[in-house]
Symmetry: C2
Subunit: 240 residues, 2 copies
């Protein structure tokens, strides 16, 4: 981060204007050989260029091609373990990062690895999601796009996060429990079936589907590419 004082900007502008005007005067003197004409050219140039520069800037400001106004937002992927939340969220994060946006990624697994003590009861999970939501809203408030992926099975805490954020986009990544269990990328369904994990969403704990999510993806039926397209079509409203 750099901070430039206003004074520096003004002095720099003046120094350039002097240098530019002297250059013009010197060129004219070199071509015409008369000091009075060189001085007149320099003087007229200084005034005209300041006026033209101002209008040139104004004109460009009206013309928005190649310029994006970005409204920070929190893109919140919710869905069963194995639904494909993290995969899609990772892609969205990478694409945004590559395009130069300020963006942060929050993922259930990463955060849990830092706070392994977080329990799996309803209360513990709701509190956990509320805390993550607070973190997300702080980042958003500071101009940073947040791409979050958490099972976040309960409406209550998702609504809490929605309230905290200015622009909360809930993305329901839907897939049937059967399909998620078939994929079982992390082997968690097997453990849940064996009783090694208690309160596992989809097995012995409910997933409360969002009633009207900002975006609905169905990874049983849609390709990852299609899901990604839908996400970018939806968040386009914040990107320019």
């Amino acid at each position: 981060m750099y901070i430039e004082t206003r004074k520096r900007a003004i002095v720099k502008t003046i120094s350039w204007r002097i240098l530019a005007t002297l250059t013009t005067a010197a060129i004219v003197y070199g071509l015409v050989g008369r000091l009075d004409i060189a001085a007149a050219a320099g003087g007229i140039e200084m005034v005209l260029k300041m006026i033209f520069y101002y209008f040139h800037e104004r004109a460009w400001n009206k013309f928005h091609i190649g310029k994006h106004q970005v409204t920070p937002f929190v893109l919140w992927f919710t869905g069963l373990s194995g639904s494909g939340k993290s995969t899609i969220a990772d892609q969205v994060y990478r694409k945004l990062k590559k395009k130069g946006y300020k963006v942060e990624r929050l993922d259930g697994d990463t955060v849990r690895s830092i706070f392994p003590s977080t329990g799996f009861t309803k209360d513990a999970r709701n509190t956990h999601i509320r805390r993550i939501g607070f973190l997300a809203s702080m980042l958003e408030k500071n101009g940073i796009i947040v791409v979050a992926s958490f099972v976040s099975p309960y409406k209550e805490s998702r609504e809490f996060v929605r309230e905290l954020c200015d622009n909360f986009v809930e993305v329901h990544v839907d897939a049937s429990v059967e399909e998620c269990e078939r994929r079982d990328v992390k082997g968690l369904y097997k453990k849940a079936r064996a009783g090694e994990i208690k309160n596992f969403t989809g097995i012995d704990d409910p997933y409360e589907k969002p009633e009207s999510p900002g975006l609905y993806l169905n990874t049983d039926e849609e390709s990852e590419e299609k899901s990604l397209k839908k996400v970018f079509a939806h968040i386009g409203q914040f990107l320019d």
Copy 2:
């Protein structure tokens, strides 16, 4: 947040150069009345100004007056309730904000009001501080200065936060329990003495003083103004 594509920047530069050169040529034509000289002046100007502009920028880049390079950091105030942490932290935050820095304020009371369920046992407090530390480090990583004030009585979690952050400045705001209790701004010591609050730091729970804090303030002896001066002298290293 605005994002400008490189293409826009290039096209804008070219459009200005064309406008500027045509202006110069027109001025010269107006003064001298010869198209060949006007064209020559415009051509020479275009080349010279591009070269001069480059060196003008380079020269200013070597000259750092009025320009601050900011390294984000986490300024962490720790101390007893009533020691004056929040008051000093508030002032530091306000001053930094006013100077145009990107800065976020995290305060024990504010955060607890959002998560009232946070307990006061050693474990609960340590976990709470770790979570705040994670939030602080995320903000820092995204270029934002963090001014945090938490009793944070245990070394263990303060060290955890230190590890998470790139630039962690621990500020010990020291004041005797007697003095803090005399001030008792929030009436908490009274409640703790009456047994209405359990595990109150300084009364029936220990405060583990930092052994080698980045900065030591003693509000029993120093004025608020002096404390502030010490803080700004210390964080100067990150501000330019």
